[in-house]
């Protein structure tokens, strides 16, 4: 009932753990069998290891979470040698999320990942928390199309591009990525946002701005997924503030093929288990026998 195909790969359900909230899948494994997920995105990888940002990295807002992790990760090489073999033992799809500071970073990174047995690559041109590169590639259609085209040439795996809601025009960026050969799009990454410590008279985050996620961004993300789905013909994975089975169905009705779940895991670590049950119940109630019946019904 929940089976979903994304870029020709079968997923047992449309629920994917979003990049950055699930490490490399080991930690939550102490709590439940993480193979129940349709797929897992790795923490954002970069060619070289990164130690991330200093100062506050997490900040709670009224109905969201701001983060400024700064892509802390062990680097592509260490991921391939130590994390991936363990992840591949899980009975779920593994999606490697790749970030970068420069074109070369992305190209060398993608060449390395292409030789591994990850199921899919998600190109992150939307991280707002690194000083150079990162989101800069994803803000305009031209730069996004260029990097995606170059990576596409080197990537023989299903290739998804993760878009930034901070783009000048996310639909234009989406079309540029599609034209440059992306197999799928995932959106959205976090919204660039800000918090100020009134007593210290300083921004909460050392980088001044950080990325907002969680329930607060859901309606915004849904609008963007809808707008992009109206224009592109490749599959779209919806991301942003998804917390309930109904949220999942909303994103599907707006045109998403699958969804990713991030910040909602912080307030309910067993969410995927409950969401799978909840989806089945909701589908029965609403007399939906296959998700394809409702996909993109909102024009």
């Amino acid at each position: 009932m929940l089976e979903t195909t994304l870029c020709g790969i079968p997923f047992k359900n449309p629920l994917i753990a979003a990049s950055g909230v699930f490490g490399f899948g080991a930690e939550y494994g102490e709590l439940y069998d993480v193979s129940i997920w349709g797929g897992l995105c790795t923490k954002g990888l970069t060619l070289q290891p990164k130690s991330g940002n200093s100062g506050y990295r997490i900040y709670e807002t009224a109905s969201g979470v701001m983060n400024s992790i700064g892509l802390q990760n062990p680097g592509v090489e260490a991921f391939v040698n130590t994390e991936l073999p363990r992840m591949k033992k899980l009975n779920t799809r593994i999606i490697a999320n790749l970030g970068g500071h420069s074109t070369d970073d992305y190209l060398l990174g993608i060449e390395k990942l292409d030789r591994t047995d990850v199921d899919m690559i998600e190109l992150n041109i939307s991280c707002p928390n690194v000083k150079s590169g990162g989101m800069a590639f994803g803000l305009q259609a031209k730069s996004a199309g260029e990097i995606v085209g170059l990576c596409r040439e080197r990537c023989h795996k299903p290739f998804m591009v993760k878009l930034s809601p901070n783009a000048e025009n996310i639909v234009d960026v989406a079309l540029a990525c599609e034209n440059a050969g992306a197999d799928a799009l995932s959106l959205v990454n976090t919204f660039q946002a800000m918090a100020i410590d009134v007593k210290k008279r300083k921004p909460v985050f050392e980088n001044t701005y950080a990325g907002l996620s969680g329930a607060a961004i859901k309606p915004l993300a849904l609008r963007m997924v809808h707008a992009v789905c109206q224009k592109v013909s490749i599959p779209v994975v919806g991301i942003g503030g998804i917390r309930t089975a109904e949220d999942v169905i909303e994103f599907m009705m707006a045109g998403a093929t699958a969804v990713q779940i991030g910040a909602a895991l912080f307030s309910n670590p067993l969410l995927p288990i409950q969401m799978i049950d909840g989806l089945q119940q909701l589908m029965e109630q609403e007399k939906i026998s296959d998700l394809s019946e409702i996909r993109g019904i909102i024009k």
């Binding site: 950055g20 909230v21 699930f22 490490g23 930690e27 939550y28 102490e30 709590l31 923490k43 130690s51 991330g52 200093s54 506050y56 990295r57 997490i58 900040y59 709670e60 807002t61 109905s63 969201g64 979470v65 983060n67 992790i69 802390q72 969680g214 329930a215 910040a263 895991l265 912080f266 307030s267 670590p269 067993l270």
Partner: protein, 248 residues
């Protein structure tokens, strides 16, 4: 580690804005210095709150917390039988089995919370001798719990009139001990670190960082150490002096 819904069985105030809350849970696998992530049932907050284990038994786990914002304020409204969600036990805890002899526990402010259970654990080894140092701002709290322990006590209040008037570190003599555990404000722990380092007394501190996942998956609680960036929730909250990159 488990995530589950449970009930409050006892909840009372022990000082100005400070509460002890006891929950139904099997605490037999809890180690001193570990913590749980907590949230109320109607949690409007997007994040759970990390709180140290104050006491754990086979059928209950308790917490001592200070109201310091909306999340802890919400906790303080819970009554007996109310529902609460908890994730834990989390983190490494103090290395109670690795130390022996004369041991000092130093707590500052609400940082004294994990020390009751820690002292009790250490005293299970009858060869250990434990001294407890409690540093308060003004008003004393939870002292009636601590005094039932077979330990020596040192009390200081920075602005109050009880005990020694000043900082708890003024009373502390690091060369008397085989090991020291500290939990409290970072300036206090840094002072203890410098004092212990001078006389080579081994020290473990309990670090505090803002947390999102609590299990090591989000890298939100990064703590730089000499062995690289560690996660307070998973690799900590307790870190050994050898790892700390605090200047002294």
């Amino acid at each position: 580690m488990e995530y589950f819904q449970t009930k409050v069985i006892n909840h009372y105030q022990v000082g100005k804005g400070i509460f002890v809350m006891e929950l139904v849970a099997n605490g037999s696998r809890c180690r001193a210095g570990q913590f749980f992530m907590l949230k109320t049932a109607d949690a409007s907050r997007p994040l759970m709150r990390p709180i140290s284990i104050y006491q754990a038994t086979d059928n209950s786990v308790s917490f001592m917390y200070r109201i310091s914002g909306q999340g802890t304020e919400e906790l303080s409204h819970l009554k007996n039988n109310d529902t609460i969600f908890i994730l834990g036990p989390l983190g490494n805890g103090f290395p109670c089995e690795k130390v022996s002899g004369r041991i000092a526990l130093i707590g500052g402010g609400i940082g004294i919370a994990p020390l009751w259970f820690t002292a009790e654990t250490l005293l299970k080894n009858t060869e250990n001798e434990v001294d407890v140092y409690l540093g308060y701002r003004d008003e004393l709290f939870a002292l009636d719990h601590f005094v039932i322990l077979d330990t020596d006590f040192f009390i200081a209040t920075e602005y109050g009139d009880e005990g020694y008037h000043g900082l708890i570190t003024d009373l502390f003599e690091p060369d008397h001990y085989d090991a020291v555990f500290a939990c409290g404000p970072e300036p206090m722990m840094k002072a203890v670190f410098t004092m212990c380092k001078e006389v080579r007394t081994p020290l473990w501190i309990s670090a505090e960082r803002r947390m999102a996942c609590g299990v090591g998956a989000c890298l939100g609680c990064a703590f730089p150490t000499l062995n690289g960036v560690k996660r307070v929730c998973k690799d900590g909250p307790v870190f050994a002096d050898k790892e700390l990159c605090w200047e002294s």
